[in-house]
Amino acid sequence: MNLINRVWQSSLGKKYIMALTGCALFFFLIGHLLGNLQVFGQPELINTYAHFLKSKPGLLWGARLGLLACVGLHILAAVQLTAMNKEARPQGYAGGSAYGASKASQYMIVSGLVILAFVVYHLAHFTALLPGVNGTGDFRKLTTVLHGQTVPDVYAMMILGFQVWWVVAFYLIAQWMLFNHLGHGLASMFQSLGLRNHVWWPRVQGFAKLASIGIFIGYAIIPVAIFLRIVGADYAEKAKHQFSQSSPPAATLIAEVNGKEAK
């Protein structure tokens, strides 16, 4: 308890927390991206993956609670540090300020809050499946059959979800903000933890640049490819019918599409 208290009471300690939780969230981003990129495979690929996650509630909830704790601590520290930083400069300058500081480093709280708004939307969109937020239909009606079991058709949700232009626009804006957040944050993380010297700093900055670009491209190509109808356009046409049906004829759908998509 004493150690936790000492860490939280100091400005440096809070930055260690920011850095460690930011690092954990970065690893989550990589895992989540690899999962999502399966949308470029057959529909069964990502549906099997989604079903696998759902079938391990211990694992799923463990990960979710861990993530929630990281996000909570990261935001709490961010808000407290930002308030402290504002308070330390009650009066600003007329002649310009923050000489030599990158935009990304000055607006971490802004990019962070946009990411937060996005996360809330994203959870409503694809986790809670709230029908009002996706601009197309009730995702809960989208099901398919895997190994004789009726399961949610995550592939169809993604394909139909990213055919809505404003959804794609919001995802891209959020990913752009994430790119800026990580471009600065991933390097800053090493600095906060003291993992830097004159030899390693250029390498750390190179890593931050490459990783943030990689994350941006990886996440952005999904909605873009779907919106441009490069991925799953046929499947979407079939899946759409389920929106207007009360009980979906999943078995027929999967049989029909399988014939078409399996090249």
Partner: protein, 258 residues
């Protein structure tokens, strides 16, 4: 050459301040920025007006007394020099130059462009020293110091405690100053006995003074007249982490010997 000055004037901390505009008399471009202010002040004094208060002492870039935020950058347009070593040839005839005091809650304003930087002294008192017996100078090289550590310690020791790092930082953070002071001693063998106690005490004092935190924007490094590197901040973060993990030293009971 002639310039127009937009200067922050404020009688004292309790009176609200504001900008006032002055036209300089004819200047020699080889005057230092402070000499330019001297000339402007002379004219003000002759007219019976209150001269502009500003801090200065050595005027050769070693004492850390001069300050001023000139057109939004502490210590003026150049890299690696203090205000006292900024010359009028860096400006053009007819320029308007905005001059403001260092702004930070921890540096309360005293008058016009003069702020109170005693918070830095209190941070130094908290741990910026080594406890040794004074006496005859020890033999040179009696304690071996690796060359690279000696060089780094000298880099850190360059800090003149001017506070420009605080003035430039969007968070008014004193990390660069404290890191320089912590590292300068922490890199030397003589600084080892108090290394972790020192970093803990100095950082805690820094927090208590009301400086902001570090967001790694790099403004401090960019304006520092001694070009102190952000590497030292990472070094301090490392040492402070170790100090936190070590915890407080074991409490002593009773007296020691002697």
């Amino acid at each position: 050459m002639k310039v127009t000055l937009k200067v922050w004037r404020q009688k004292n901390a309790n009176t609200p301040g504001g900008f006032k505009t002055y036209s300089s008399p004819d200047l020699n471009e080889n005057m230092s920025f402070l000499e330019m202010l001297d000339v402007v002040n002379e004219e003000l004094a002759n007219k019976g007006e209150e001269p502009i208060a500003f801090d200065h002492d050595c005027r050769e870039g070693i004492c850390g007394t001069c300050s001023l935020v000139i057109d939004g950058k502490p210590h003026g347009p150049h890299q690696g020099v203090a205000t006292c070593q900024t010359y009028m040839r860096s400006f053009k005839n007819g320029d308007e130059i905005v001059i403001e005091p260092f702004r930070a809650k921890a540096f309360p304003l005293i008058k016009d462009l003069v702020v109170d930087r005693a918070a830095f002294d209190r941070i130094q008192h908290a741990g910026g020293f080594i406890s040794v017996r004074t006496g005859a100078a020890p033999d040179a090289n009696s304690i071996p110091v690796p060359k690279e550590n000696a060089d780094l310690a000298m880099d850190a020791a360059q800090c003149i405690g001017c506070g420009a790092c605080v003035a430039a930082c969007k968070n008014a953070s004193a990390m660069l100053f404290v890191a320089a002071k912590v590292s300068h001693l922490g890199l030397m063998p003589q600084g080892q006995p108090e290394r972790y106690k020192r970093v803990k005490a100095m950082v805690d004092q820094m927090d208590a003074e009301g400086f902001g935190g570090c967001t790694v924007t790099g403004s401090c490094e960019a304006v520092c007249p001694k070009e102190i590197s952000l590497d030292f901040i990472a070094r301090m973060n490392r040492d402070y982490g170790v100090a936190l993990l070590k915890g407080e030293p074991k409490a002593m009971e009773g007296g020691g010997v002697g």
